[in-house]
C-alpha cells in the first residue's frame, strides 16, 4: 500500500517560532505533492510541488521536494496564532485522474 508519513503528528510552538513539518513517502511514481492547511473543515490549498529541489514560497510559508530522498518539508517562519491548523501532505498519484494519497497530518498549535 502506498504510504505518506508525516512527522511530527503534533507540535506546540510560541508565536514567532519557526516550524518545520516533514513528509516522507514510499510512492516513486506520482504527479505532484500537495500541501494543504485544514483549520475547521475544508483543506485549503497551499503548494503543489512537482520538481525536486525547487522551493515554493508564499509569504511566511515555503516548501521543497526531494525526489531522491523521497520527502518534502513545509516551513513556517515567524508563526502566528492563525497558523494553528492541521497541515496535510498529499500525493497526487499517476492513475487516470490523479487519485490522492493523504498523510495523517501534523497538528500545529501556536500559542500567544
Amino acid at each position: 500500500e502506498d504510504k505518506v508519513v508525516q512527522s511530527p503528528l503534533s507540535l506546540v510552538v510560541h508565536e514567532g517560532d519557526t516550524v518545520t513539518l516533514n513528509c516522507s513517502y514510499e510512492v516513486t511514481n506520482f504527479r505532484s505533492l500537495l500541501w494543504y492547511k485544514q483549520e475547521k473543515k475544508a483543506p485549503t490549498f497551499l503548494f503543489m510541488l512537482t520538481s525536486s529541489g525547487i522551493e515554493k514560497k508564499s509569504g511566511r510559508l515555503s516548501s521543497i521536494l526531494d525526489k531522491k530522498e523521497l520527502f518534502s518539508i513545509l516551513n513556517i517562519t515567524a508563526t502566528q496564532t492563525g497558523d494553528s491548523a492541521i497541515y496535510l501532505c498529499v500525493l497526487s498519484l499517476t492513475d487516470s485522474w490523479g487519485k490522492l494519497q493523504f498523510g495523517a497530518g501534523t497538528q500545529v498549535v501556536v500559542t500567544p
Partner: protein, 113 residues
C-alpha cells in the same frame, strides 16, 4: 482556483433518516469527488462523480448507502442514507481544476443521534 459551495454546512439528524448534501462549483469541471473525514482521521475518498456516467465508488462504499447525482458539470449531490451514529463525519466535495490541484468545498459537518 475554483469556488466551491456546499449545503448544508452542518446538520444534526436522527438515525434511520437520510440527508442530501449539495455541492456547487463556479465553473464547469469534469471530475468531482466526495470525501468523508471521520473524527480524528484524515480524508477518505467515497466516490468519483463524472457527469453523464455513474459514480465510481471506493472499496467499502456502496451506492445504496451513498447515492450520488451529477446532473451537470457544475453540480453534484451526495445522499447519506439510513444514517447511523457511525456516519457522523465531515463530508467534503472537491474538484480537480487546474492541472493536478484539487480544491475542496467548505464541508458539511453531520452529526447523527
Amino acid at each position: 482556483s475554483a469556488v466551491i459551495s456546499q449545503k448544508p454546512s452542518r446538520d444534526i439528524c436522527q438515525r434511520g433518516t437520510s440527508l442530501t448534501i449539495q455541492c456547487q462549483v463556479d465553473s464547469q469541471v469534469t471530475m468531482m469527488f466526495w470525501y468523508r473525514q471521520q473524527p480524528g482521521q484524515s480524508l477518505t475518498l467515497i466516490a468519483t462523480a463524472n457527469q453523464g456516467s455513474e459514480a465510481t465508488y471506493e472499496s467499502g462504499f456502496v451506492i445504496d448507502k451513498f447515492p450520488i447525482s451529477r446532473p451537470n458539470l457544475t453540480f453534484s449531490t451526495l445522499t447519506v442514507s439510513n444514517m447511523s451514529p457511525e456516519d457522523s463525519s465531515i463530508y467534503l466535495c472537491s474538484v480537480r481544476y487546474d492541472g493536478n490541484t484539487q480544491y475542496f468545498g467548505p464541508g458539511t459537518r453531520l452529526t447523527v443521534l
